[in-house]
Each structure stands twice: as C-alpha cells, then as structure tokens.
C-alpha cells in the first residue's frame, strides 16, 4: 500500500450494509463498498470471512449457507439460515431487515503502517 491507513470501522468503509430475507428460511447480508480500494482492503483483511462472521453472530459456521465475494458490485455477501421461518410467532424481524447492526462497528485493521 502507498499510504499507511489506520484501523477503521466497517461503516466508515462501506456505503451500504444491509440485511433482508432471502426466501422464508434465510436472511442475506450485503456489504457494498464505494471504491475498489475499500472493497479490496476489507476482502484482504479477512475480517469478513465465514469464520469471523460466525463468531460475530455467535452461531455455528454451518448456519452460514452462502458466502460470496461479489466483485461486479464491489460487495461481500453472506447468508444465514433462520432457526424458524420468517414470521413464525416470536420472530422479531419478519423482513430480516435489522440483522446487519453488529456489522457496523466491525474493526478493519490498518494497512501499510507496520
């Protein structure tokens, strides 16, 4: 890297961080970056690997059904299996639209500074 950069939160690097139902049994998460540099930095940092996401949400890795680095949209995308289908009694988020919040403060390490 040309310029050293310091640690940043994911919500400082991404332009979109969202979650939404993907069908009735799964919730899918999209993190979309405004620039190639921000996208590359997060992909290379490894903070959004399958293992790290499972640890963040405190779920077994097997519940992450898909994990895709989607280069055409400068996006990282993963999908979590629900334990009960959407809208079952007690489901607090029928659309799955507020499940992304823990991603916002994810720490992305600095690069090129040592």
């Amino acid at each position: 890297m040309k310029h050293p950069v310091s640690t940043a939160r994911l919500d400082e690097l991404a332009k979109t961080i969202r979650s939404k139902n993907a069908g009735v049994d799964r919730i899918t998460f999209d993190v979309i970056f405004p620039t190639r540099a921000a996208f590359d930095r997060v992909v290379e940092s490894g903070v959004m690997s399958r293992e790290r996401i499972a640890a963040l949400y405190r779920i077994p890795e097997a519940r992450i059904t898909d994990f895709v680095v989607f280069e055409p949209a400068l996006a990282i995308k993963f999908t979590i299996a629900r334990t009960r289908p959407s809208g079952s009694p007690g489901d607090g988020d029928i659309f799955g639209a507020q499940q992304y919040a823990p991603l916002l403060a994810l720490e992305v390490p600095g690069v090129g500074d040592g």
């Binding site: 139902n21 009735v24 049994d25 949209a73 999908t79 009694p89």
Partner: protein, 454 residues
C-alpha cells in the same frame, strides 16, 4: 435494431403507492408494456394462510388506476404478477374486480382482461406424496409429509412465464396474475416476441423492484428497461436517480442468497457472466447472461399453516435488579401458565426489546440489556378466548414475579395498557418446496373476458 421497452413503476405493488411524477415521465417515453409485481413472501405467512392482503385496498387501487389509464391510453398491455401480495385466487378476483370498476368509472373503451389461478389443491399434493413423487424441500427443508400437509391452510404454486404467454396469445390487454416469480412477468412478453430467454429473464430480474436498481436509494420510482437481441438497458426515470453499473449489479444480489443464479419454473438464469457498462448518465447496459433450461419441470410451492388465534400484551421493566433477572421473571410467567393451563394446547412467546427482541439468538449484545426493557408477550391458542387468557396470564404475572431480593414489592412491571390486544392469527411457513409437473401450465388455469363498460 428491434427493441421492446418495459415500464415498471413499483416493486410489490400495493405495499406503498407508486410515485406519480416519475411514472408520468416514464409513460411519456411511450413504453411497449406497463408491468409490476404485486407479491412478496416477506410479509410473513399470515396473509397467505388467512387469505387476506397485507396492503391497503386504497394503495392497490391507486397504482392499478394509474397503470390501467396509462396502458389503455397508449394501447399497450398491462401486466400484474402475484396479485394482492399472495397471488391467491381471492386476490386475483379482487384485482380483476378493481380493474372492471376503474374501467367503468373512467368509461374506457372495451378491452380484454386475462387472469390465472395459482392455488394448489392439497389433495393433489397428497396424491403426489402417496405415489412416491416427493414434494422436495428447499433451503435445507425435509421433503413434505402428510402430517405437515394436513396442518397447512393454503398453498400457492409459483408460476413461470407460461400462463402469461398463454394469456397474451389469447389477446389479453390486461393480465392479473396469480403467484409467480417476479422476473417472469417481464420475461414472458419478451420471450414471446422472440428475444433470447437469457436476456428476457435478466430484464425481469433487474426491473422487478422498479427503482431499487437505481441510486441514490429511493423506492417506488419508475424505471424503464429495454431489450434487444444483444443487450438489456435500464434507465431511471426520476430526475435525481441513475442506473449505474454499481446499482444495477448490486441489485442482482438483493434479497437472494446467491447473486449469480436465479431459479424460475423452467430453468436457471446465470448472471455470473454478465457484463455491465454505463451508456449514459442514467442508463446501464447489460450483456452476457445465460439461461439453462430445466430438464425436469418442477414448480415452487408456498404454504402457510395456522398456529392459532393470538393476543398480545406489552410490559415495561425499569428496576435494574429485575432487568438483570428478566429470565426469572419470564420463567415465573411460564410457571403460572403451567399451573393454570397445563403444558399443552397453547404457545407463549416473549420478545424482550432492549435485550434481544429484534435479533433473538443472533444478538451479540444480549448479555448487556438496556436500562429499561419492553417485553412483548404473545399468547397463541386454538380459540380466541384461550389465546386471550394465555396472553393475560403471561403479561399480568410479570407484575407478580417473585424475585428474592427485589425492593419494589408493589409491582414488578410497568403496564402501558392494563389489557391484552387481539392480533391477527399466527401462522408459520409450512411449505417452501417444489413439486414435479408434466407441463408448466399444469397448475395455472387461465381465464379471459371482455371488459366493456356500458
């Protein structure tokens, strides 16, 4: 170069009204078709199970009226998919009657209206199971068994392009579709006109949610997609919105597990080979999608099973000691339910807002509750009277929870309302499956009629 142009003013028509100014800008471009999807399984299993709309009638009619008047004035077909959120037979009938009413009110010249049904008789599914033709589970579900089928209130099949093509062939000017894949309402007329299937399905995929494929974010605004033999181009109509490479490619992954593949009745759209380029400030061009036709015809099924009637209570907690022991409070409520009603014949659910009410087991901060909590209590049982009692016991007993060191002995909870409220019946998604069919029109009977306002 021949092209066809498709105007889409709304994704999930009825859930919120279309925005009129960008719709009118789009209509001024004289599109060849005006189309919108009106369905979603995001709204939960209740509307399908109970056979009601999630959307207000006024908003449904608002959009149908704008679209019908524009389509009849331009003399182009209007197509609606998954009528009334769920695409059940009653929702199709509702939209057909709205179209007739709007035509009468405006004294429109006669036109032909076509519609089709998507509901599946459960006996047909039972027969398939019994003859060993598995109703296969999707997304990790088991194959359907007779017990789960028996618990299911209503089933719809998700149509491909086939009933739409059939109705266009029969001369329909307006089509009201039962449950269908969002993309196929756009793909059907394009494929019927001879455009490549891959581009046609891609066109539908990108247009199905209207301005969700544009930026900056702004829902319910009109977009226009055009198809040629070589590409799809999509243009935002709102003056402040643009369809960019990023926004169009980004939309391919919206609300789906895999951004590269989209399965419809009849095959799989492969978007992994798509190429995106900016044509002008508001238009992006897409080439290169592929379509793999299915070798066996399978149709997706959605079904909802009733869990019970439902009442809801709301409880506040402010004492930090009680907050630290809120699980003991909930357990006290459950014990009082068991004491009065036994262990069977009802369900109780507690969502503890301020702790993990939104995220449940996915909440990383569930060990750090806020300084006040709101507990939403749901009591569910076969009858309304029993559901009300379940909700009332569970709600009120939080007031009387016995915590050993609590200082406040006059009441352990705060009530916003000292009552429990009737809510819609509780359902659950019992079918997210596929079944084999001999032909892709099999489950979708079509109908056509003249609308001739006197």
């Amino acid at each position: 170069m021949r092209t066809l142009r498709f105007l889409c003013p709304n994704g999930h028509l009825g859930f919120a009204p279309l925005k009129v100014p960008s719709f009118e800008l789009g209509v001024a471009n004289r599109p060849d078709f005006i189309l919108a999807d009106s369905g979603s399984d995001d709204i939960g299993p209740g509307p399908l199970g109970h056979d009601v709309s999630a959307s207000p009638r006024e908003w449904q009619e608002h959009d149908l009226e704008h679209m019908l008047l524009a389509a009849r004035s331009l003399g182009v077909p209007m197509i609606i998919g998954s009528a009334g959120d769920t695409g059940t037979n009653s929702r199709v009938a509702l939209y057909v009657s709205m179209i007739r009413d709007i035509a009468r009110r405006h004294g429109l010249a006669p036109f032909r209206i076509g519609w089709f049904h998507s509901e599946v008789d459960r006996e047909r599914l039972r027969a398939a199971i019994r003859c060993g033709d598995a109703i296969r589970g999707l997304d990790g579900r088991d194959d359907l068994d007779e017990a789960e089928l028996g618990a299911t209130s209503r089933v719809v099949a998700v149509a491909g392009i086939h009933p739409y093509v059939e109705l266009l062939d029969r001369g329909a000017d307006v089509i009201i579709g039962g449950r269908s894949s969002d993309a196929v309402i756009f793909a059907a007329p394009a494929i019927r006109a001879g455009f490549p299937a891959a581009l046609s399905y891609y066109l539908g995929k990108v247009l199905e949610c209207a301005s969700f494929c544009a930026e900056p974010y702004g829902a319910k605004e009109t977009v226009i997609g055009s198809i040629s033999d070589h590409d799809v181009q999509v243009t935002a109509m709102h003056p402040e919105q643009r369809c960019t490479v990023a926004s169009v490619a980004g939309h391919a992954m919206y609300e789906r597990s895999n951004p590269y593949f989209e399965t419809v009745a009849g095959g799989v759209l492969d978007m992994s080979t798509c190429r995106y380029e900016q044509v002008d400030e508001r238009t992006t061009r897409v080439t290169g999608p592929r379509f793999e036709p299915a070798t066996e015809f399978r149709v997706k099924l959605e079904g909802a099973a009733k869990v019970g009637e439902r009442y809801v209570g709301v409880v506040g907690i402010r004492d930090p000691y009680t907050i630290a022991h809120v699980e003991d409070v909930l357990e006290w409520s459950r014990s009082q339910l068991r004491e009065r009603l036994g262990v069977d014949g009802y369900e109780v659910h507690f969502n503890v807002f301020g702790r993990d009410g939104v995220m449940g087991d996915l909440e990383p901060l569930r060990d750090r509750p806020a300084h006040e909590l709101c507990v939403v209590v749901q009591g569910i049982a076969p009858t309304c009277a029993r559901a009300e009692e379940v909700a009332m016991i569970a709600t009120r007993q939080m007031f009387y929870a016995r915590l050993p060191d609590v200082k406040g002995t006059a009441g352990g909870a705060a009530f916003l309302l000292d009552e429990v409220m009737p809510a819609s019946p509780a359902y659950r998604w019992s079918l997210n499956h596929t079944m084999r069919v001999d032909g892709l029109l099999d489950l979708f009977p079509t109908f056509i009629d003249e609308v001739a306002p006197a």
